[in-house]
Amino acid sequence: MKVAYWPGCVSRGFTPELHGSMAKVAPLLDIELVELDRACCTGAGVIAEHNQELADTLNARTFALAQQVDGAAMMMNICSTCQGAQSECQERLDANAEYRSHVNQTLASEGLSYESGLTNKNFLWLLVEEIGLEALNARVKRPLTNLRVGPFYGCYIVRPRKRLGIDAEHPRDDYLHQVIEALGGTVVDYAGMRKCCGFPIITMNKEASLKQAGRHLGDAANAEADCLVTPCPLCHLNLDLQQPLAEKAVGRELKMPVLHLPQLVGLALGLDPKELGMGRHVVRPTSVIDWSSSVVAAAA
């Protein structure tokens, strides 16, 4: 399927392994990515905090660009924070025709216009709802047998439920669990899996921010997870990049590898950890790499 692909900023900046691994995984799932390279940052909720109309207009521009992609079934993102920020703007734009037309007037000088009703799905949602868990499972070449994976959802992709379309038919706040299982892994539940990583206050209250990250990583370690997986690159910054500092904040060794969702999928689809950029993590995913090489060795 062809999608208008919004990679976000951080996946091309400080977590380049996320964008890179998505590009490797997409062809294996028959996803054609048409990158929205003209679109700007969603503002991650901060532009909306500054000026709601500004955030809505900038994101309406992205939505309009996505609607111009010929033959695209929908828009897809690989960043939970983008999903949350965009969903918030889209909720207002779709709810009120007068407001939408007000915003479209600003876009008109560029010849763009947003029509309500865009479908915008995070890769996680697309995996479950468009590709399907059975079809995903059928493509697995290296099942994650005995790999204990802790899902880390973060906030923006699970709350608020109504805005994000989470209901009994679409238990999107449970999809990481379902994907880990479909890939053959073992799900490890722990207290912090749907809590905040602390990233949004890293510059305002660093101690509290690192304590949040440290606690969740510690909870996962207590539950004997081999690694975490997250659909959010900003969570990845606090959980992986800042992990050495989070260790100090909570006073314990953590050494918990954190994978991006496409990396975990890629691993199960048979890709090599190195080509998925796992060497670029601050916390070396040795538990994952050892596991995958032992599986490869066993298969050989």
């Binding site: 900023c9 951080v10 091309r12 900046g13 400080f14 380049p16 392994e17 390279d37 003209r38 679109a39 700007c40 940052c41 503002g43 991650a44 909720g45 901060v46 532009i47 905090e49 500054h50 000026n51 709601q52 109309e53 500004l54 809505d56 900038l58 521009r61 949350g84 909720e91 207002r92 709810a95 009120n96 007000h102 600003t106 000088s109 906030c155 923006y156 709350r159 608020p160 439920r161 809590k195 905040c196 602390g198 949004p200 206050i201 510059t203 305002m204 209250n205 509290a208 921010s209 304590k211 949040q212 606690r215 990049l241 800042q242 050495p244 500092l245 060497g279 670029r280 993590h281 601050v282």
Partner: protein
């Protein structure tokens, strides 16, 4: 609805978190089976268990119709009003067929399901001066204000002080001194009131406090927890917006600088230039920020992380130095949007709580008058 109310009583298993700090015993779980119609509330189930099996079960309640805010608890791990949660819905969300009822979080337990609201919630509410500091001169009769300005604060006025948002606040979980969602929503009640004389003083106080408006982690927990759609996090964002844009407050917690750093970087690059974010949040929105003492100190303390990132090839040095940009023509369009929207005399804000959606506001289609239509068809001569 009538059908749900017609269903006969059923058996429901409930699991209560019991604790009496004065007993010296650890908390424990206590299970009971109650018999009630499925549309009855979790509160009624607890009260039946108390009446029939154990008179010592502690729960606080009063109005039993979601108005007084007394019976806040956690049902299956989520904050809720016990009187406003139907048993059939609670059963559906239970993990193992037993409805689990616990006291709220972030507050000490007095007994069983009763938490100490005075020690946390009410103390925080008092912290924000929760009354009107009236503008002088006080009119002889009532103040006359534009209707819209009072409509704006009705969302926060819907708060019933149940503490559900406080219970689940993730910032408070690691930083108990955080003023928190309920109190900050209450603060907006007065900051947004045109009769109040101290908007600047209130905002400056809450912005400078290290545990004030910039300590919120934007996790949406309070938005989800609130049984009255108060959207406390949204109110906190409005406090930040007015503090930064209208009152031009610059706080000591980097809150306003952080906001200006992100909006400024996106205006300049179209994308977030991550390497510039920390120096600008500490030192101000300029390329030279990194040479200011607060930014220098912060960068120095982050050096182990920066070095490790470089070593692992996490940052592309070119992107770390120059950032990444969208194509020039698109950047120009993005900047034109900034210019147009930011030059408006008044910010345009759409609050769906107040306005409703087009769907909500659509005129209700008139009931097809079937009898009349039928009659006219039958009665027609054709």
């Amino acid at each position: 609805m009538a059908e749900a109310h017609d269903r006969p009583p059923e058996k429901f298993n409930i699991r209560l978190r019991r604790y009496d700090p004065e007993s010296g015993q650890a908390p424990y779980w206590d299970e009971h089976t109650v018999e009630l119609e499925p549309h009855r509330s979790v509160l009624e189930a607890v009260l039946q268990a108390r009446d029939r099996f154990d008179g010592s079960i502690g729960i606080r309640c009063s109005c039993r119709q979601a108005i007084c805010g007394s019976c806040g608890v956690r049902v299956n791990g989520e904050p809720a009003l016990a009187c406003h949660t139907h048993l059939d819905a609670a059963l559906a969300s239970s993990g193992d067929g037993i409805i689990e009822i616990e006291p709220m979080g972030n507050m000490p337990v007095i007994k069983d399901l009763i938490v100490d609201m005075d020690a946390v919630h009410w103390k925080k509410i008092q912290r924000v001066t929760p009354w009107l500091l009236a503008k002088e001169p006080v009119p002889e009769r009532e103040y006359v204000v534009p209707k819209e300005s009072m409509v704006d604060v009705t969302q926060t006025m819907a708060c019933i002080q149940c503490g559900a948002c406080v219970s689940d606040c993730l910032a408070m979980e690691v930083d108990p001194g955080f003023i928190g969602p309920a109190a900050l929503a209450k603060a907006y009640r007065f900051v947004g009131d045109p009769r109040d004389a101290e908007q600047f003083e209130r905002l400056n106080d809450l912005a400078q406090d290290p545990q004030g408006i910039f300590d919120c982690t934007h996790c949406f927990k309070c938005v989800e927890a609130c049984p009255k759609d108060v959207n406390p996090m949204g109110q906190i964002m409005r406090l930040r917006r007015i503090a930064a844009s209208d009152q031009h407050i610059v706080d000591q917690n980097n809150g306003v600088r952080h906001e200006k750093a992100i909006t400024g970087l996106i205006r300049g690059y179209g994308l977030l230039h991550e390497a510039e974010l920390i120096p600008r949040s500490y030192g101000g929105n300029s390329w030279f920020a990194k040479f200011t003492p607060p930014a220098g100190k912060e960068l120095l303390s982050s050096l182990p992380v920066i070095l490790r990132g470089l070593l692992r090839g996490k940052f592309n040095p070119r992107i770390a130095i120059f950032g990444h940009k969208i194509p020039p023509a698109d950047l120009k369009s993005v900047q034109a949007i900034y210019d147009k929207v930011e030059s408006r005399e008044e910010r345009y804000e759409l609050n769906l709580y107040i306005t409703g959606t087009d769907e909500d506001n659509a005129p209700v289609p008139a009931e097809p008058e079937q009898a009349a239509v039928g009659a006219s068809t039958e009665g027609s001569d054709s």
